[in-house]
Symmetry: C2
Subunit: 134 residues, 2 copies
DNA sequence: CAAAAAGTATACTGGAGCAGTAAACAAATA
DNA sequence: TATTTGTTTACTGCTCCAGTATACTTTTTG
């Protein structure tokens, strides 16, 4: 029951970009060194953030990464989902056929887990990158 | 980001025991068949629930399992922790030395994750087995 | 006391995901 | 055109997951 390391690195990388002067691209190496993230590993994570529209990139000399939108519009859930996909507390919440009780309303466990999962999603989406910049 | 299958089976097994007549032991095979849990797998899970004081067992002919305490005093968190250990959203919440920022108050990511983790724990402990019996 | 019926403990297995590394590739700039 | 940057794909060692197998202990019953 945890986030994976890539997601943690993603949080820190995006927060770091948010703290740079607006729309200035920062080299991967600068991000990696300042956040103590293995450079190669960071490079593998960034494309997921780009596809999600959270970060933009620039290639070639003087290239790097910058935020693609306002830090107030980037939640921790956005980053988490970009990197490790949506939260599913239990496989029966992905595919109801996997529920031995054929899902709600009979399966009370299913209902409880669905509720907890929704709260968890709300908790992650309740934090924006801007909230962490103070 | 999910509970493991053993924990899900644990939820269902304990709920099933709670629905039996009080303090009557039920064979593992009955539990396994009714909850569609592989018998051998269930047998491996049960000792964790016993060590946590949630379930008691009886060996020999006519043996089986029964609840060890009131369903109102068994939360989903109790079962989850018995089977897969405590929830740690991130490794930096286990050992602050693993936080690249040496933990709070400097590391805002750390603080946010600690808050979300606490809410998640509360959400799981907010459901008792009795709540699921209705 | 012996046999059978339960649960207990330990170890194994195939598969998947995690964390990180490596190498070839593509684009942008000087 | 050479260099610098990011992109893509594949690989590796490791751990955990889900489930299975085997040998063992306890308890009851005949």
């Amino acid at each position: 029951m945890n986030i994976n390391q890539a997601t943690d690195y993603g949080f820190r990388a995006v927060l770091f970009l948010a703290q740079q002067s607006q729309s200035e691209v920062v080299e991967a190496q600068i991000i990696a060194q300042s956040q103590v993230v293995p450079m190669r590993f960071l490079l593998k994570i960034m494309p997921s953030l780009i596809k999600a529209g959270i970060v933009r990139s620039q290639r070639g000399i003087g290239g790097g990464y910058a935020l693609a939108r306002d830090p107030r519009d980037i939640s921790l859930l956005d980053i988490l989902e970009a990197i490790e996909g949506p939260i599913y507390l239990n496989r029966c919440l992905i595919d109801e056929d996997l529920c031995t009780k054929q899902g709600p309303p009979d399966c009370k466990v299913h209902l409880a887990l669905a509720d907890i999962q929704e709260r968890l999603n709300n908790d992650f989406s309740g934090y924006s990158i801007a909230d962490l910049m103070g």
